[in-house]
Each structure stands twice: as C-alpha cells, then as structure tokens.
C-alpha cells in the first residue's frame, strides 16, 4: 500500500494505517534525530512529537507531496527547536578549538556495525544548520531542491552549509578528502 493510500485511510479513522506509516518511517526519523541531537532520549521525544504533529495535521497533508519529505519537514523543525532551546541555556564550550587541540591523531577508524561515536561527537560540534544540511544531503541522500523545499533555505545557502559542515567534520575527524582514497 502506498503512503498516499495509508494517509487516506488514516484520515478515515483507520489507526492500523497510521501504525503502518509509523513503522515505515520510525527508523529513518529516529536515526536523523539521533544524529542531530546526540541523545537517545531526546531523539525519541522529538520523533514521537513529530509523529503526533503529523497525525494531528494529517488533514493538511497533500498527497502529491512525498510523505517522507512532509514528515521530515516537521521533524527537522522540531530538532532545530530542541537545539535552539538547548543552546540558549547552556554554558558555551570552546568547541572546535578544544576538540582540535585534544583530538588524538589518528582516531580509530569506524567499523561497520559499531556505532560511530567519533562521528557523532564531531557532528555535535557543528553549527546546527550545517549539521542538518550535511545529514539531509549525505545521510538522507536528498537533492538540494528537496532540501530547499523542506527547510525553506535557498539552494546556494544549503550548498554552503554542506560545504562548511563537511570541512569542519573533516578537520574534526582528522581526515582529508585526499586521504579518503
């Protein structure tokens, strides 16, 4: 059953349909939220809130849109809010300098199947908009056009965020494009 059909059924009051949508997208939402927020509990909270808002707003969803994109728009908004609220209140660390000074060289390389703690730490040190852009581009595999529609930012701004975000990640992770191959 397609997402659009499930949405129609959800609107008709069929909770099984909504349950199927959740099971389709929960993982994707949670992985994004976890990479954005860095905390499992926060990620779960945000995903649940996003699903709730999606459910409440299901009447406004246009079936011509991609459901995943629509859902992610809600999710990215909530992640941003969570981070803004968090950063307003917390003591600032000298993030990048500290990390660069104390980053061991080289960090152990990631192994498939094991959570990449170094990457998550590095992501956490990015500006939230850069982090979001890098994740949407590389982890979610979106086109810049899709990202622009989702975030409301212009494509060139998004490209710049991805570029800067990648540069910073590379610096934090101690690797360069040249080392990649």
């Amino acid at each position: 059953m397609t997402d659009a059909e499930l949405v129609v059924r959800t609107r008709a009051g069929d909770p099984d349909a909504f349950g199927t949508l959740v099971s389709r997208y929960y993982d994707a939402c949670w992985r994004f939220a976890y990479h954005m927020l860095g905390e499992r509990a926060d990620a779960e909270d945000v995903v649940q809130e996003a699903l709730l808002r999606a459910y409440l707003a299901i009447g406004r969803y246009d079936e011509r849109d991609q459901f995943r994109g629509w859902l992610f728009r809600i999710l990215t908004n909530l992640c941003r809010n969570a981070l803004t609220s968090r950063s307003r209140r917390t003591r600032r660390f000298v993030q990048d300098e500290l990390a660069l000074q104390s980053a061991p060289a080289p960090l152990p390389s990631w192994a498939p199947g094991v959570e990449d703690a170094a990457l998550l730490r590095a992501l956490a040190q990015l500006d939230p908009l850069q982090r979001e852009a890098v994740l949407l581009k590389y982890a979610e595999g979106l086109e810049y056009g899709e990202m622009a529609a989702m975030t409301g930012a212009g494509e060139s701004a998004l490209k710049m965020r991805v570029k800067r975000g990648c540069e910073r990640l590379r610096a934090l992770l101690g690797r360069t494009l040249e080392d990649a191959s």
């Binding site: 009051g13 069929d14 909770p15 099984d16 909504f18 349950g19 959740v22 099971s23 929960y26 993982d27 949670w30 992985r31 976890y34 990479h35 909270d45 995903v47 649940q48 809130e49 699903l51 709730l52 459910y55 409440l56 209140r89 917390t90 003591r91 990631w110 498939p112 199947g113 094991v114 959570e115 990449d116 990457l119 998550l120 890098v134 994740l135 581009k137 590389y138 982890a139 595999g141 086109e143 810049y144 056009g145 060139s156 490209k159 991805v162 570029k163 990648c166 990640l169 590379r170 690797r175 494009l177 080392d179 990649a180 191959s181």
Partner: protein, 203 residues
C-alpha cells in the same frame, strides 16, 4: 541534478565528500532498527495523545510518554491486537495512560555573567506562588520568591551564587516541596530529597 551518483564532477567548485557521505550512511546503518514493540508503543502513544490534544492548553508541557510506556508495553504483550476504531475514549485512556498535566516539574539552571544563577521551573499545574529555598538563603521561603513569566508560565529566580556546591529545592504555595527530577539530587536524609547545583569557578 546529477550529484546523487558518486563520484561526480564538482558542483559549484565543491566536490562532494565521498568518504564522509559513506561514513554518515554507515553510521545510520550501524544504529539498530527500532524494535516492533517500541514502534507499536509509539503509535499507541501518538493516538492516545491525539485524543487528548484538544484539551491541551498551548504551552503546557508535552506528555511524557515513557510514564505510560511500561503500562503500554505490558498491554502490547498481553493484548497483541490492533486498535479498533470503536474503542471508546475511556478505554483508550485506560489502555494507555498517557500522563498529561500530572507530570512532575521540569527545572533548569543557567549560570549568567556576573556570578548569578538563574533557576527556572515549569510546573505541571498552576500555582499561586513558588519560592526557591536553599543553603544560600537559610531555607527561608520568603527570601527568594520566584516570578512567573507571563508568556509560558515558567517560574524564574536569579540568585548570586559563589562557586561551589549549593543545595536547594522549591516550595509551591507555601507548602509543597518539589525538586527538579533531572538535576543532581541529594538523597533524602530525613527531610526529603533536594537538588544540588555546582557553580563553576575557583573555590
């Protein structure tokens, strides 16, 4: 645009980082998939919350789903069948007791420039007055009344505090003592638990 296929020519002078992309995707893949019980639990939580949505005031704290999660998990195991649309409102509430306004308080502390600490407190239900009490004011509930912010109902107080450990709690309406559940706690030593705050700096 063609930048989905890798490797590709640079876009606006910026070569996509193949290796970083692969690493990000691998990080995604390395996370375990959510187990179906969790997904079912979340679905039920959302549906139950939605039922209460119209009665939630704007600005009230979100329901903390995990309080009901244990009950829901039990229910899912015992009654493993899909939700029927005909389920009555009352039964839904019993089946998944999503707490709304009866949750505990949510607090935050923030060090500000100049040596003051701001204490914030969100209460699940309205209060007439809230005081901050602690070692720094002799546990006097008239010394540091908190002020309620009109926009969202948060109670706040600012206290100059030197570096070090400070023990505190909140008093609601002159009689109910509360602590911030997530801040460091000082266990009950005969009076009830309190919170501990560490203010940074040379001591």
């Amino acid at each position: 645009m063609a930048d989905r296929d890798l490797p590709v020519e640079p876009l606006d002078g910026f070569a996509p980082d193949v290796d970083l992309a692969a690493r990000l995707r691998a990080s995604y893949g390395a996370l375990p998939p959510a187990d179906p019980v969790q997904v079912e639990r979340v679905t039920r939580a959302v549906l139950a919350s939605a039922m209460h949505a119209s009665s939630r005031r704007d600005g009230s704290p979100r329901p903390r789903w995990w309080w009901g999660a244990a009950a829901a998990a039990l229910l899912v195991v015992v009654v493993m069948r899909p939700w029927r649309p005909g389920l009555s409102h009352a039964e839904a509430h019993r089946a998944f007791p999503v707490p709304s306004a009866s949750d505990g308080p949510v607090g935050a502390t923030r060090e500000e420039r100049g040596g003051a600490v701001r204490f914030d407190l969100v209460l699940p239900s309205p209060a007439a007055e809230v005081s901050l009490v602690g070692d720094f004011n002799g546990w006097d509930d008239e010394a540091t009344p908190m002020v309620r912010r009109a926009s969202d109902g948060t109670w706040s107080a600012r206290v100059p505090l030197p570096p070090g450990r400070h023990v505190y709690a909140f008093v609601v309406d002159g009689k109910q003592w509360l602590i911030d559940p997530l801040a460091p706690q000082v266990p009950d030593a005969g009076f009830g638990p309190t919170n501990a705050l560490i203010v940074e700096g040379p001591r």
